[in-house]
């Protein structure tokens, strides 16, 4: 819903553009992001995201860390889905070392990553509610997320930076009764999705705020390299789990939800549907959890052979990739991360123009960035 700016003759003489620094301290920039907005009244005429406030130089840091040590740092990229970060690092190293993870280890990894996807999308759901002005969904989402974090705590000892998925497998096998607890959580969360739909998805005010706002066309999304729910919201069915299965995703039955118009509501809806699909995947994984070892045989000192590897996977926010060069020592020679949030954020400056201030928040929220990953 682009608003036309009507220029009356002589008006340019008196009116003045206002520059508003949205952030870095602002309640809804989801971290420390600064967006420099040029505004004519409430209408945006130009925008420029300014990033780097959370830069910690993890790519450079990795050159002085051993391969297992880097896992700890990978937790801190996208701190809302640390499991995916762990997994992509392990996939890259395993590719270099040509390790084969046992079936049980792979299934455990999928369970954790999918649970983390639900938790991550729940945070999106809650914070998006706050962005739009509804406070209650936030508390509901965090109530559910709390249960997932409890499950993670039992399995890995941590609630945010798990460091659970390790090179060659996972940290440890499941504790007793964990499968039962996970199942009861899944049963518990299913009716919650109906609650969310009543509270937000089908709410007329919410739809009014999001439908037709911040439209990202298929072509533009593809040309900017947008991935994840943002791309699927624009109508492109692209999901690494389906198109290039890793860790045995090809054994699972699930749908890839795809939006139609590429507006904020579609991006939101895709994420809600993805949570439901993740529940399905976890259920299948729990049903067919293979017995046996969960770790491959890994040498005590990890020294991958000289060479390069690129591993990527479908993180909750899009395609997360690692490009890794090894020079044969115990430390990587060079690491490059392809963070989905960073690339998704780039579309902001294009789709914001012509929107209202209120839409800026709605659009920024719907892109769902994590600044820890944008700046690394």
């Amino acid at each position: 819903m682009t608003t036309e700016i009507i220029r009356l003759p002589g008006q340019d003489l008196s009116s003045e553009e206002m520059i508003l620094n949205l952030g870095p301290q602002h309640p809804s920039t989801h971290g420390v992001l600064r967006v420099v907005l040029r505004m004519d009244g409430e209408v945006i005429t130009g925008s420029e995201p300014d990033i780097g406030y959370l830069h910690r130089g993890t790519e450079k840091l990795s050159e002085n860390r051993t391969y297992p040590q880097m896992l700890v740092i990978s937790d801190r990229w996208d701190y809302l889905s640390a499991m995916s970060n762990n997994l992509v690092w392990c996939l890259a190293v395993e590719k270099l070392m040509q390790l084969e993870v046992p079936q049980r280890g792979q299934t455990l990894r999928i369970i954790m990553v999918e649970l983390n996807r639900i938790a991550s999308h729940l945070v999106f759901f809650g914070t998006y509610g706050i962005d739009i002005g509804a406070y209650t969904p936030f508390l509901y989402a965090f109530r559910e997320r709390e249960k997932i974090l409890d499950l993670f705590e039992e399995v890995s000892g941590a609630r945010l930076t798990y460091n659970y998925i390790r090179i060659g497998g996972v940290m440890a096998d499941l504790p007793q009764d964990w499968v039962g607890k996970c199942r009861s959580f899944l049963e518990w969360i299913k009716p919650r999705f109906v609650e969310y739909d009543i509270l937000l998805t089908e709410n007329p005010i919410f739809k009014d705020r999001t439908v037709g706002v911040g439209i990202l066309t298929k072509e533009k999304a593809l040309s900017y390299g947008v991935t994840g729910p943002n791309l699927r919201g624009s109508g492109v069915s692209f999901d690494m789990r389906k198109d290039e299965p890793y860790s045995g995703y090809d054994k699972f039955q699930f749908e890839v939800p795809v939006g139609k118009n590429g507006d904020c509501w579609d991006r939101y809806w895709v994420r809600i549907q993805e949570m439901k699909e993740s529940v399905k995947i976890i259920e299948q994984a729990l049903d067919h959890l293979p017995e046996g070892e969960c770790n491959a045989k890994v040498p005590r000192l990890i020294r991958p052979p000289k060479g390069e590897a690129y591993a990527h996977l479908e993180a909750p926010r899009g395609m997360l990739g690692i490009y890794l060069i090894s020079d044969g020592t115990e430390k990587p020679y060079r690491v490059h991360v392809r963070p989905p949030s960073f690339i998704n954020l780039a579309i902001l400056q294009e789709i914001l123009v012509g929107m209202k201030v209120a839409d800026v928040i709605a659009i920024l929220g719907s892109i769902d960035i994590v600044l820890g990953e944008v700046d690394r």
Partner: protein
């Protein structure tokens, strides 16, 4: 039938509530109509005054001061209660507990503690602000609201100024409050505040119109602008075939009453700047909108004004649509307070359920939806009057 299972503390809470309700209703029944008690007491006072030969103008001056203090006292106490109530209600809606410690029982003293904290806080005027505009704004936001209370009937005969143009007076004065908000927005020297103030101005101006227009059918039916007369017109019952079905409240008037009620309620929520119409202080967009730069006592004045307006709107809704103080058994002031707080609950419920509208959609909603329908309502009321 499955009975809900209560925990020990829940049982205790229910017990406390029931006991409080029983004690409260007994006291209310003992007191009876408050205006009669007041007249009795005032009769004694004036008798005593004439004995010691105090001039009558002094007496009327004292009466005015007393009325003002009672109103201010009522506003502050009810606002404190509403803030605590809102925190408890929102907490329970969001599966939390809310304040639990201060004061012992369910954190009842939380707002008192908060008010003391706000009083003791440093008063900051930002360097970029215009100091006098910045200082004057909270006063200008609150004073009109307080003046409005003078014409609000709290029950039978409980009104400090029973004006013939009561409704007009309240509408006119409550429209003034936006000046304070615009001044706060402009005088703070902050871009977010400025945007908030501009939004508030646009919003108040637009929503004032359907709010006034929605009341016109009532005025047409009653034939008076006097709030006490409107409340009086709603005593008794609607009869269908000689059997009393519903109280004679205006909200139960077929179609016109409901339409007017809905328009009035929506416009009232918008007037009080509360979600889903809280665009002037939209936290996620404008940090805190017009009161971003305010702290301490000045902030608490904005807060006070907002909640006072909530109660004022609820009181007006009660008087205009819910029969004012009419009701069985209890005296009229009890019924008025019960109904008003029920409407306040509605306001709180909206706030913790709905997302926020966008500013241009908000304008579209009032100009393209509320105003045409309120005109239609007036037309329908006119036809009803002809028949």
């Amino acid at each position: 039938m499955i009975l809900p299972v209560f925990t020990q503390s829940q049982k205790r809470s229910v017990g406390v509530l029931v006991a409080m309700g029983a004690i409260g209703s007994t006291i209310a029944l003992l007191i009876g109509e408050l205006n009669q008690r007041i007249f009795q007491v005032w009769g004694f006072v004036s008798e005593f005054a004439s004995k010691i030969s105090i001039p009558s103008f002094m007496l009327s001056f004292v009466s005015m001061v007393l009325q003002c203090s009672v109103l201010i006292g009522f506003i502050s106490v009810s606002v404190m209660f509403m803030v605590w109530w809102e925190r408890k209600i929102s907490a329970h809606m969001q599966s939390r507990l809310g304040p639990m410690y201060t004061g012992g029982w369910h954190g009842w003293a939380q707002t008192i503690a908060d008010a003391i904290k706000l009083l003791l806080k440093e008063d900051i005027i930002p360097a970029a602000a215009n100091p006098w505009v910045h200082r004057l704004a909270p006063v200008l936001a609150f004073v009109p609201c307080f003046l409005c209370y003078a014409a609000l009937p709290f029950g039978e005969g409980l009104i400090s100024a029973d004006l013939d143009i009561g409704i007009l007076y309240i509408f006119a004065l409550s429209g003034l409050s936006v000046l304070g908000i615009v001044m706060a927005g402009w005088g703070s020297g902050n871009k977010y505040s400025l945007l908030g103030g501009l939004r508030a101005a646009a919003q108040s101006v637009s929503y004032e119109i359907p709010r006034v227009l929605s009341v016109v059918p009532i005025i047409m039916f009653v034939g008076s602008l006097k709030l006490t007369q409107i409340a009086q017109a709603q005593t008794g019952f609607w009869h269908v075939g000689g059997i009393p079905v519903l109280p004679r409240w205006f909200i139960f008037y077929p179609v016109i009453g409901q339409l007017a009620f809905i328009i009035f309620l929506i416009a009232s929520v918008a007037e009080t700047n509360r979600t889903p119409f809280d665009i002037a202080e939209a936290e996620s967009e404008l940090v805190a909108g017009f009161h971003t730069e305010y702290s301490g006592m000045k902030f608490s004045f904005f807060f006070l004004a907002e909640y006072a307006y909530v109660f004022l709107s609820s009181g007006m809704t009660t008087t205009l649509f819910l029969g004012g103080g009419s009701g069985p058994l209890f005296p009229s002031w009890v019924w008025f307070l019960l109904k008003s707080f029920a409407v306040v609950f509605l306001f709180l419920w909206f706030r913790w359920t709905f997302p926020r509208l966008r500013v241009d959609r908000l304008m579209e909603f009032t100009w393209k939806f509320l105003i045409p329908w309120s005109f239609f309502n007036i037309l329908a009321a006119g036809f009803m009057g002809l028949m």
